[in-house]
């Protein structure tokens, strides 16, 4: 069906060059690439989850404490809420962008940042609490995996906050250029993705850990 010379070709009709080719769409290309990044980040979390799964048998905690003894699901629930509200605020900000409201976008991002900072603050506080209880990653393989999973997530959130800060500056400085809009879209994907990952962490690490 694809042999090189089947149908006769009319040399006057044939199109050899794309005269009206507009080039690729920058924003959608950027977004596609960012999806790819999200996929690889997903694999990263999947691997950490796998490690956590393998290292969450009771013997993995050696003689040290198991999550049931130190996690505080209600406390972490506040973190969950902070992160969800942050995503929501970011959503408002993106809605404002559709209407072209610079103030709306900025307010949304600031709110999102504050809530994200609350999340991080709570996380740091929680870690300090656990460390003061002697729950440190050096105690056992299980705790190592616990810290790796939760703190890698926290590191992502931290990067997201820096990113938001940069975006605030860029919006103020440049307005809604193609680059800025593209980055805001990517950041939304990033932020939502971290929230989704958090749901898994909350359920499998905190709730499950608390119950078992």
């Amino acid at each position: 069906m694809s042999s090189a010379h089947e149908k006769p070709v009319d040399p006057d009709q044939v199109v050899l060059w794309s005269d009206d080719y507009e080039g690729h769409d920058v924003i959608s290309t950027r977004t596609f690439g960012f999806w790819m990044y999200i996929l690889s980040d997903g694999m990263l979390f999947a691997t950490l989850f796998a490690a956590y799964g393998v290292l969450s048998y009771s013997h993995s905690y050696y003689t040290g404490p198991t999550p049931a003894q130190f996690v505080a699901p209600w406390y972490t629930f506040i973190q969950t809420m902070a992160l969800f509200l942050s995503v929501l605020a970011y959503g408002f900000s993106m809605a404002a962008m559709k209407t072209g409201s610079k103030a709306g976008v900025i307010n949304g991002i600031v709110a999102s940042m504050v809530l994200g900072a609350v999340f991080i603050g709570l996380d740091i506080h929680d870690v300090l609490r656990m460390i003061s209880m002697g729950v440190t990653p050096e105690v056992s393989g299980g705790l190592s995996a616990f810290y790796a999973l939760t703190q890698v997530h926290a590191a992502h959130i931290f990067v997201g906050l820096i990113w938001m800060l940069v975006m605030l500056y860029q919006i103020l400085k440049k307005g809604f250029t193609e680059d800025v809009v593209g980055r805001l879209i990517s950041l939304r994907m990033f932020w939502q993705f971290q929230a989704v990952m958090w749901v898994f962490i909350y359920v499998f690490v905190y709730l499950w850990g608390y119950m078992s």
């Binding site: 069906m1 694809s2 042999s3 090189a4 010379h5």
Partner: protein
Amino acid sequence: MLKKAKPGHWRYLALAPLLLLLNGCAKHSAWWIFNPQGVGAKASYDYMMIDVVVMLSIVGITALLIVWFMWKYHKGKNRGSYDGKWEHSNKLEVAFWGIPIAAVAFLSWAVAVHGSFAVNPYNPTVITQHMKPKGDPIDIDVIATDWQWLFIYPQFHNMAVANELVVPAHTPVFFKLTSTAVTTDFFVPQLVGMIDVMPGMRTKDALESSHLGTYQGIAADYCGAGMSWMLFKTHVVSMADFQHWAKGVESSPNTMDYAQFNRFAEPYINVHNKTPVYGHVEKGLFNHLLLEVMNGKKWPLPMFMTENMFHYLKLQAAEHRA
């Protein structure tokens, strides 16, 4: 362009080794894999032959086809007819998928499934199914250190011998294995395949042989500087000889408790091929050790051993002289 000498002719040379692979020079004992002397090793060898015959028939024919096409369709030689449009054939495509599918199906069933059970290190049916009711199997606890082997015979007064393994012929031998420091691999090429030996963990393996002789045992997985020297001779001897030998070892005044084992487990390259025997080692040493390692016990490597061996060699030489 090449002149007369066609690459095609050289190709036959490249195929020669494949033929050699097949008929194997099994008579020389140097070809350990082709000269299995243990029940497990023999089974593996048989499976290998089935696999090679099936695969070689397909791969070999493919290779011949390539060579033939190279000869026939060589441009300018006018041996075959050219058809620049021919790029698809349903029949051929079905064959191309079908042949390997059939071959893989056959190999999966005949070799993968059967073989995995036959030589399953934890319960090799080639040994366990034909276990003689009389003649108790022998248990041996194997402890790998950096870089020595300790073989403990619980049924024989808990005697032990380092860096040398003696087993009676016609008798199943069951191993439990663990390691003090790092992961390695227990391997006697002519008798039994590999099994990992890991710290804080216990693996199992089994061996049976009816061929008296001495076979080389190897630490087959990289475990540090002394790995090449971490060898042990395996002697398959008659039951009578074995009993006799065991008597001798049991009566050795040398014994080993956990404190002594601690010293034994320190990094040591067995360059001088020492094979000390111990008339008795502390009961339960194997499990004790397993527990200790799980509790974090280590026999760390001193820095100088990873950098320059001169220092270590001097120590060794001094010790050897003493």
